[in-house]
Symmetry: C2
Subunit: 334 residues, 2 copies
């Protein structure tokens, strides 16, 4: 069983809005300390979200924050979740990703996506209808950059390069794993066929998550692609509780979180609406262990924790009271 983090740093603006005060870096500092502690506790990976123009201070330059984290850590894998390719020059993405792979000693997991937030398409003045074709061309360029023997050229619909070589070369060969978020059966099978690893959302129930992992595995086996459970990262909200009062508060937070993830088209949820939702790791350590055992039994063995509070204390409790149940060696060491 592998455990990782999924999330990001956030600046908090001074009162008065942009331009009045300057960005508060505490969100970034706290997040860096959180990741360093995660490595110390034995977590295997961190996936950083990347967003633009939110006004909420979300991370926009995820690979730079990961480069900083590469210097602060030595073992934890560093992932993007995701670099939205239609916003980027794909050759620069290939250079930046390879540089990050080099700086981290081969620890990059490159999650890529075609974008889904309407406000970002509007901000970049790119029609959403072009997302898929822009994504496809960018991936084609990135793969060429990392697989061409010698110089190559590319003349596509959006991008043109002549006789170039992308440097540095990444450490991981043939290139860092590419990850894709997918949910529908077709898109999961396509991810398997096209050589991606898979990111699963934090909303799907345990049963649905097990089904999705099964679909991905079957498609890999069908086409002869070697499969390993670490190739699928299942995001799960982490909401540890130690009392019934904390459990009620956790339901309220869960309802809030689901209401805020507006892009996923959730409506107005009340705490009572989320009592039967088994997707989050919400409960006592014993209850969470039981949920994880169900997931593991169904082949879901790479869990990416989403803690709405990014709490170091929560993470320590999780490591001491939950992870140890799945890692006898670690338990013995502690």
């Amino acid at each position: 069983m592998r455990f990782g983090l999924f999330g990001g740093a956030r600046t908090k603006r001074m009162a008065g809005g942009p331009g009045v005060g300057f960005g508060d870096s505490h969100g970034y500092r706290d997040f860096i300390a959180y990741v360093v502690e995660a490595e110390r506790l034995g977590l295997d990976s961190v996936f950083l979200v990347e967003h633009h123009f939110t006004g909420q201070g979300q991370v926009s330059a995820s690979m730079e924050l990961l480069a900083y984290l590469a210097a602060c850590t030595s073992r934890i894998r560093l992932g993007t979740a995701v670099v939205v390719l239609p916003w980027h020059n794909p050759v620069l993405v290939a250079e930046q990703a390879a540089t990050l792979d080099l700086l981290s000693g081969g620890r990059l997991d490159l999650g890529v996506g075609k974008g889904y937030r309407a406000a970002e398409f509007a901000g970049f003045c790119i029609p959403p209808v072009e997302a898929a074709e822009r994504f496809d061309e960018a991936v084609e360029v990135i793969r060429k950059a990392w697989s061409s023997a010698g110089r190559f050229s590319h003349h596509g619909k959006r991008w043109h390069y002549e006789n170039i070589v992308v440097e540095p070369e990444p450490i991981q060969r043939p290139h860092p794993p590419l990850w894709l978020a997918a949910g529908s059966p077709d898109s999961i099978r396509r991810a398997a066929r096209e050589g991606y690893n898979l990111l699963l959302d934090q909303l799907g129930s345990i049963r649905m998550t097990i089904e999705r992992v099964g679909l991905f595995r079957e498609e890999c086996e069908r086409i002869g692609r070697p499969y390993h459970p670490a190739m699928v990262g299942a995001t799960r909200a982490l909401q540890l509780v130690h009392s019934e009062a904390e459990r009620e508060a956790a339901f309220a937070i869960r309802a809030q979180v689901l209401n805020v993830i507006g892009d996923l088209r959730r409506g107005e949820l009340a705490p009572d609406d989320v009592r039967d939702d088994d997707a989050p790791l919400l409960g006592t350590p014993e209850e969470i262990i039981a949920k994880l055992q169900r997931l593991r039994g169904g082949g879901v063995e790479n869990i990416l924790l989403v803690d709405p509070r990014a709490s170091v204390a929560n993470l320590r409790t999780f490591a001491a009271e939950v992870m140890t149940a799945f890692r006898p060696q670690q338990a013995a060491a502690e």
Copy 2:
């Protein structure tokens, strides 16, 4: 008197060329150790070059390497020299630069340029004749991103953004210093008028360098812009020698270096051709001190060292035997 570094890391490819082996990260590791040692020795800044498609393993993602260096250092300023704006989406540059400024605690010096290498224009399929207009539009977008109170839009010739806010905000207000490389009187005066700091090349003689600093200072004073000597960084090759044999070897290296800087249209130079070239800090510590005193006497007080060998040993000797002559406090501490 301030001293900094100017240069970059370099990977060395495995025999057989690209695609055969993987990039050797030792060049990057050595360079990182070099910068960390420079900070320890009291140097004030490092400016990183950025190049694409050279086949020589030069740094392509300079802001990522600087983000890594931000985590390894605490005081030294971190500069780009330069980000060639025509290759980049300017809003992403503003985000990346602000993130780097945040991560480094406000230590970014953002050098920008319009590009000069024919091979890079050809590789990106951008006509050199468009360089200036692309540069101007990109700078306009970056300045808007860092100075707009609230959201802004931009609809230019190359770039379109609608109702965006660039996050995070940089730590340095109103924004990190922008640096420009310039050499001709007109371009130096323009840099002064448009609010840039100035990077001077390593080829100009001492007299020419003093004249250029004087021009920049005069133009600042003419328009009422506060001037400080740290606003001009003069790059100088560092070639310390301790014997006449080492001096002859240094001339040979100098001739080689000048021959390699092909973009500057140098012809075939022999060691004898560079004996009277007073631009490099080539000589014994005493001779170099004398050159630096001439520069300082002419108002050139921010020296960026270019060591063709990026040698830690050279840097230590320079710090111990040259810098101490200009920094009595540091000498006392050692």
